[in-house]
């Protein structure tokens, strides 16, 4: 088995803020057909500023929301420093216009490449009563 794969960037975060603009590159734009029937989407993006050997070798971090100086594994928090610099964010889809998505609640920086968009489907994706440790309740959502 191969030990790695290649991701193509399918778009980019053109602007970020309360509302963010995500541009899907023209050659992938047909893939958005029907997305406007969903109110929310999951956006997978690339932490491009962390795509270097040092950040990708990081396996434990102190989460910024942790009040104590406790290290946690990167797979047990949402650290952008991790073996694969993939960010995941559920966002409200405000508008789809041509190849531009306007979304609310995206935590990606301007310039972040997009690697996938998935429709948010509550019966698969929503677990309101999932249990979490106390430190995750502080600070920003992601």
């Amino acid at each position: 088995m191969s030990n790695k794969g290649e991701v193509k960037f399918i778009g980019v975060v053109e602007s970020s803020g309360e509302l963010s603009r995500v541009k899907i590159f023209p050659e992938f734009c047909v893939g958005l057909e029907g997305l406007n029937n969903f109110s929310h989407i999951t956006i997978l993006y690339w932490f491009h500023l962390r795509d270097n050997e040092k950040e990708r070798r990081t396996l434990r971090v102190v989460p910024r929301r942790h009040t104590r100086n406790v290290k946690v594994g990167v797979f047990a928090c949402r650290s952008p420093s991790r073996p694969n610099p993939i960010g995941l964010c559920v966002a409200k889809l405000a508008k789809v216009e041509d190849c531009i998505l306007t979304v609310k609640g995206l935590d990606a920086l301007e310039g972040s490449p997009i690697i996938d968009i998935k429709p948010y489907i509550p019966r698969a994706d929503s677990i309101p009563d999932a249990q979490v440790p106390e430190w995750t309740s502080r600070g920003p959502r992601t």
Copy 2:
């Protein structure tokens, strides 16, 4: 800007069923520290059987749950044929033992490489009332 990135496989689905076994490779295992404090996780995996040019050029499909013969963009459904063969599944974490996760509800096939594990945090990830088109309510969850 580069137009692609590299993902390293951090583990593999060793067995799949009602309970699935996910093995994280030893060199990444430290990254699991603290994961046992979460009841659910999001698993990003690689649709390895679809990692070829034809499947990755696919932009529209007929979702298997659709009752009519209607094509939908791959970013508006969970098709494994898509530009980046990344699968996303929220699963219940039954057990963490050494480098092995036992999870419930994982839809990945045996042999699928794992590319990331993220803790499921309801206040970021759970949108119980997200709107979806009617066809998504049929068949399996994902």
